[in-house]
Amino acid sequence: MSNDTLSRRNFLRTTGLGSAGLFLGLYLPDAARAMIMTEHEALAADVYTELTAWVLIEPTGKVTLMCHRAEMGQGVYHSIAQIIAEELEVDLASVDIKFAQGNEKKYGSQLTGGSSTIRGSYKNSLKLSASARVVLTMAAAARWAVPIAECYAESGHVIHKPTGKKFHFGELVVEAAKLKAPENIALKPRSAYKLIGKPLHRKDTPMKTNGSAIFGLDKRIPGMVFAAVERNPRLRGKIKSFDDSATRKIPGVTNVIKIAMGVYEMDREGVAVVATSTWAALQGKKALKIEWDDTGFEHVNSLEIFSKQRELLKTEEGRILTTQGDPNGVITQSKDLLDVVYETPYQSHCAMEPLNCIAHHRGDTVEIWGPVQAPNWIQDYISKKMGIAFEKVIVNMTFLGGGFGRKALTDYPHEALVISKAIGLPVQVVWTREDDATQGPFRPGISYRCQGVIDGNKNISAIKFRMAGQNNDHFRSGDNGKANRSTSEGWLKPYFESIKNISFADVTFKTPIPTIFWRSVYASTNGFAYESFVNELAHKSGKDPLEFRREHLKEERTQKLLDKVAEVSGWKNKGKGFGMAVTECFGTTVAQVVKVSKSKGGKLKIDQVWAVVDCGWYVNPDIIHAQVEGAIVMGLGAATIHEITFKDGLVEQHNFYDYKMPRITDIPPIEVHIMENNEDAGGIGEPGLPPFAPALTDAIFDLTGKRIRKLPFDMASI
């Protein structure tokens, strides 16, 4: 069978090898096609084709679903199942879910980032599940010799309506696998959904309330040992020499090895201590005496970083990402220019589960178990870096105790493999909180220069945005000479309709600090600058910020969103202390209103946050609420509580005592609403974060007249 025949047909067949069940897959290059094959065929087909294998229905009727993406809190472990159960007609409670191994051929990209899992796969999942249901129904109808129209599927059974006879799916899989699914199967209209759109309980919750969920750090492999690594505290440093005599005296310590971990294109040196328990490894790490070699690269300081960015923004035009009209012309002629700079800090991800990874180097095959967001990137990196065949790099995902972008990097799995190779045993490398907080990569710190002009009608006639900050892509794929493609991330497209002269540019700024995406990526910082600036222009023109948005965001969907946020927040009759912002991120637009007040003692406090989410089609409204609540809490921390700073090339924060987190005592009431429409699905894990900081700072301006242009700021100081 050639690729061609497989790719052109939407078909069902059996190999005659005796089937263990019905595997459902998708042919990726033309993902609109659903395929149903026996397990043997699915496995065999993998040799020739790019066939996925998502769902297995066994002859017993048991349904197993492969979760091909990372579950790090955002709920895909549950949501994918909620989608498939809908069109397949099985009971969600009875579906088993397993994490898939890294296999891009089968599952497509498994990078869990860009809030992409549901929006990227739901249409295919619906079609795939519906096709399976239809062929199962056809198989039952054939066995009963009745018209298909008299049969329907429900709760994992096909039922013959007139007689009430039924088969469970497992009884039908062998025959169903021989059938061809018709083209153009009608999918349920939203009104007919029994599961989708309902706030169902997540299937991973019970495991997370009794300690049975297995996170990376909880995984155990027979014969496994533990390791901790002291890495050069400066981001590109090496080792001059080290003394491990004290370390080797610690009971349980078995090996001390100098290693290098690949961080993007550079190597970071460290000393690994291998031991029979985590504690012994950590003690051994503490007892090391290392002399570092920190020559050959700049020892950065935060103050210099940000003053250099400001300096550059004074004169540099930068690389233009996008432009329309003639913003420069309007700006040069304006006598009343608003020209301000915003500043956003470096941030650490500090997922609750510190980085960790188990690796076993077995010569020509290597295997990894851990909390990873990008199994395919690991396969790719390891195969190139260590000279192992791509398919011999086996990556197993566990639950992630948070990820936020950091766990997409390949450094910590690589390091674990380097250690395993040296000792010939499976090893779990445990990062301390201090390692996790100080070593990055970080969200880049960025300065933004924003210039804008208001016309005679009190509307924006020109805007010019320039950012100076590190480009995450440069670490992954080098400087291609182009502007940072994320320079306009967060900014709503309908603004381009109303603002005739506008440009976005990226002023190249580099440091040796490794950076990476952080929940909502550049929207998290762009959003603060750009939406704060729109608020400032609104005030300058004497207009209400929400009305000002209505005038500049004419598109119907956005108007509805603005209406809704006005309605739920009581904007029309609001008093003092209200601020708002609206941003777009990964296909979803979120508007937020924040209300602040001061107590009699003069203490500033957030009274309430309202968020309205337009994510189009959605699966589980409760998960959306949870993600937006969580994103707001994370946004609150990044805006008012913590930042990563550098001094002499060293990170100045270490753990939760100096990189503080929002706590239960800091959280205002949060109200989340979802727009109902039939648009395509947008992302959910990240888009709730960007509008919070600009809405908060405008609320503070509304109450106090104080304009905040630099994050983070201390609420107590206002």
Binding site: G73, T205, P206, T209, G211, T278, E629, V633, I664, I670
Partner: protein, 157 residues
């Protein structure tokens, strides 16, 4: 050899007396529900009960627990049906879930001492537990719900 009772079971472990209880429970006894988050008594991911009191096992030497009773998340109930566990499921509290063993163990002591906690009581008892995913609004709700539930059943642990 150090002997300790964890979740009503006796264990003899060969541990450095200075080893934190956290690592003894995880690595030597093999119960991984108790989590490592900071190692310095800042985050509460490692909270267990020592003779009924909430302690941060990352800074509690295993020798301090010798001969004592330790309760971990795995022992809180047999069937995941402690009122807090029921409420956590009802309110869909966990996101990544990593912090919640510690959150629930902290809340369990609160409920035992204050069967009807006010928001201020919850703030006091729970301020030591960080949730990076930001599930705080739901933690508060679920504790109130668990208080209601336990009026019916009563809480012993």
């Amino acid at each position: 050899m150090i002997s300790l009772n964890v979740n009503d079971q006796n264990f003899e472990i060969d541990a450095d007396p200075d080893m934190p209880l956290l690592w003894a429970i995880r690595d030597l006894i093999g119960l991984t529900g108790t989590k490592f988050g900071c190692g310095v008594a800042q985050c509460g991911a490692c909270v267990v009960h020592l003779n009924g009191e909430a302690v941060r096992s990352c800074v509690t030497k295993v020798s301090r627990a010798a001969g004592q009773n330790v309760l971990t998340i795995e022992g809180l109930s047999k069937n995941n049906d402690h009122p807090l566990q029921i409420a956590w499921n009802e309110e869909n509290v966990p996101q990544c879930g990593y912090c919640h063993s510690g959150q629930i163990m902290s809340a369990a002591v609160l409920l035992r001492e204050k069967p009807n906690p006010s928001d201020a009581d919850i703030d006091m008892a729970m301020a030591g537990n960080i949730c990076r995913c930001g599930t705080y609004p739901r933690i508060r709700k679920a504790i109130h719900m668990a208080a209601e539930l336990s009026k019916k059943g009563g809480i012993t642990k």
